[in-house]
Symmetry: C2
Amino acid sequence: MVSATLTKFSDLDGQAPFNGCQENFKQPDGIGKNTGRKQRLSAHDVLFYEGDKAERLYEVLRGVMMLYKLLPDGRRQVVYILREGDMLGFSNREFFDCTAEALTEVELQVFESREISTSPMMQHYVNRCLLSQMETLHEHTVLLGRKSALERVSTFLMSLVPNRGGHGCSGPIEEGKPDTKTVALSMTRQEIADYLGLTIETVSRVISQLKRRGLIKVEKQDSIHITNICGICQLTGMH
Amino acid sequence: MVSATLTKFSDLDGQAPFNGCQENFKQPDGIGKNTGRKQRLSAHDVLFYEGDKAERLYEVLRGVMMLYKLLPDGRRQVVYILREGDMLGFSNREFFDCTAEALTEVELQVFESREISTSPMMQHYVNRCLLSQMETLHEHTVLLGRKSALERVSTFLMSLVPNRGGHGCSGPIEEGKPDTKTVALSMTRQEIADYLGLTIETVSRVISQLKRRGLIKVEKQDSIHITNICGICQLTGMH
DNA sequence: CGCCACCTTGAGTTTACTCAAGTTTTGTGG
DNA sequence: CCACAAAACTTGAGTAAACTCAAGGTGGCG
């Protein structure tokens, strides 16, 4: 047994113990047994479409992607946001159930599906990734089914602040210390709206409201400085 | 390799090939190697609460269950409906992220988590179950994020009609033949509302509207006769 | 037969949506 | 580096869908 703590799928060599999935990223790009193909995407490139044949898995090494589904009349729902360390390309059937599109420049590690299914180690890793994604989906289901626009946007902003708002919420770090953070949205207002089940105008209005209330400062459209993390957290509906 | 086609987790004996997950149910109750514990629940019994220690997996042998999450102010979102052949009790962390409650009388097969993690066969089966649940969650995300009340209720009704409305939609079976089906809801209006992200009044009004339009007949509150499956299907937003 | 839980319906309200400008930002070419 | 165009974002006014609150109806079971 190798004792090193590996955190990326691309680092797995069939012997390393599992140690999480998008939980921390201490390793350089994968250089294990899977020296295989890397793939680069520009923002808004589509990696695969809903209905495409599912033959490969991908690990996001750098950048942000989204999975979305379309209704025939053009309504779109973004069902998942993928960040560094996340995997995509799973499918139960022969075909993908979602479209995968890059939100930023992206670098991917590519795996052939059979590489996975022949390695119990990788099976196990994929399993943990699926469970992690499932929990995220459950949370997002609550957001879409039961939260107000203000709660949705606040929850979204909190999801961009590591170690806050969730199970492992550390609270304001220390009395007197500034409780702030600048986050990169990596998404347009329309993409945020399609993720949160709102319209672009509603997202814009909520952001303006948070700005007026002095909880955030919009720096570059794509970059928001949260001036009071705890204040935003109180608006998520989870406290 | 055993060549028989097994369709339930509880039938797996470590050698049978995977053959789906809640896709068809031809086998009697599981009697494979896992002769282990069975558990019965009455309607509205809670199997486990969000936050409970996750130590066992369960397979639904009979009946219907739901997974739900609560917000601190009491708002509830049902995140998944589990039917015969479905598995529950997965967790990435040490604790469950949802509460599991029986909607009807339920019979479960119980598995200790370590039984699963030591069998590659079971690992693989669990994997397929997770992927199947993930696709269902993606569909439900679209429903919650982008569909109207009428579309949500119609989609819910269609989900109770096997082989219709989804990927393998066969369409109206034959010209002239009646396109009808009686479905058991197995849920109160409140539970349906909490699943569809609506209020009980809205669910009730939509059902009344479908009744008025002659698409369904309500037989026993819990039992709905769909008199025009294709008509309901047209209202799901997916055609 | 009557109670209790569940369901339905109505009236009024609220939230988020639609439509329509107007503004800001970003990217491109001179 | 500036001017311009295109894309993205914001804001306002009016509307519509679903919500809340309240009352009344229905059905199942002792």
